[in-house]
Symmetry: C2
Subunit: 151 residues, 2 copies
DNA sequence: TATTGTTATACTCTATAACTATA
DNA sequence: TATAGTTATAGAGTATAACAATA
């Protein structure tokens, strides 16, 4: 991607939620990915750290649930985080199939730095969105995501 | 992904534009991808057909521009579309570096069918969004995408 | 020297299937 | 038999780099 000088979208693409959501999401994610590089985190890793903190030492399947990710993806992401000593896995005594994830002090520090970097990276987005608009978008997307039905 | 029975998002994820946009975009795209399968198109291919029709036999670099895709990606996608006889490439007489893309009659029919299928697939989304909300979202996303600055 | 398109290659994100170990 | 986590593998989507032909 090189020539990106305020181009105009085609009308039919500009009318498609799928297209718009995708393109905007990717752009935003590229920003966040870039901003997280110095912190040493990928966007999905930051998401996991956030959920681990919020849930307070959840088991892996809870993380998968909260992040809407497959448990195999969570395993893989946790491998990286554990290797870098940001989290520790602990086998539950009650049910030895389960592993509980806990933030290390380092993990906590990296989480703070990552969250700050991510917020900064999203300023590009917030610059062009009013608070009201953002609240509308937020509510719609949350509704849509949470309404996702199984089969 | 298996357990997706109206779960709740974590507060910190529900507050992140990057996260929400990404997740919603992926969900929507999965729907569209599924709906386009019987038509034999991928979402990006439908986008290209749309732009080809709107622009009226554009050269490849224009397609890349309008779709916000790399030209190598466009080359690859066109290879598939040409193979299936949905478009034809024609070397421009004026500038023999350029290739002009034209829809075949078959391509036109598939475009119509694809557009219909994609619209249907996005009803899940529109079911939970009011017209006003959608207009707000649409404008914000278009603004954001078009404002993407180079360096 | 710059631009159009092509080729070969590689990367990110995420999932499916089959497995192990419990329960 | 069902569940938690792991492993190996694969696929979609898109990009970068180097190149050929032409301008």
């Amino acid at each position: 991607m090189q020539t990106e000088t305020t181009k105009k979208l085609s009308p039919s693409l500009a009318a498609s939620p799928g297209y718009l959501l995708n393109k905007a999401a990717r752009m935003l994610r590229d920003n966040v990915t870039e901003a997280l590089k110095p912190v040493g985190l990928a966007p999905a890793e930051l998401g996991i750290l956030r959920v681990v903190q919020e849930e307070g030492s959840p088991m892996q399947s809870v993380i998968a649930d909260k992040c809407f990710l497959d448990r195999t993806t969570v395993t893989e992401l946790l491998d990286g985080l554990e290797e870098r000593k940001l989290v520790v896995r602990e086998s539950s005594k009650a049910d030895r199939r389960c592993k509980t994830i806990r933030l290390t002090p380092l993990g906590r520090r990296i989480l703070v730095r990552g969250a700050r970097a991510a917020t900064r990276a999203q300023q590009d987005f917030f610059r062009i969105v009013t608070t009201d608009e953002w609240e509308t978008i937020r509510h719609v997307l949350v509704r849509f995501i949470e309404a996702a039905s199984p089969d």
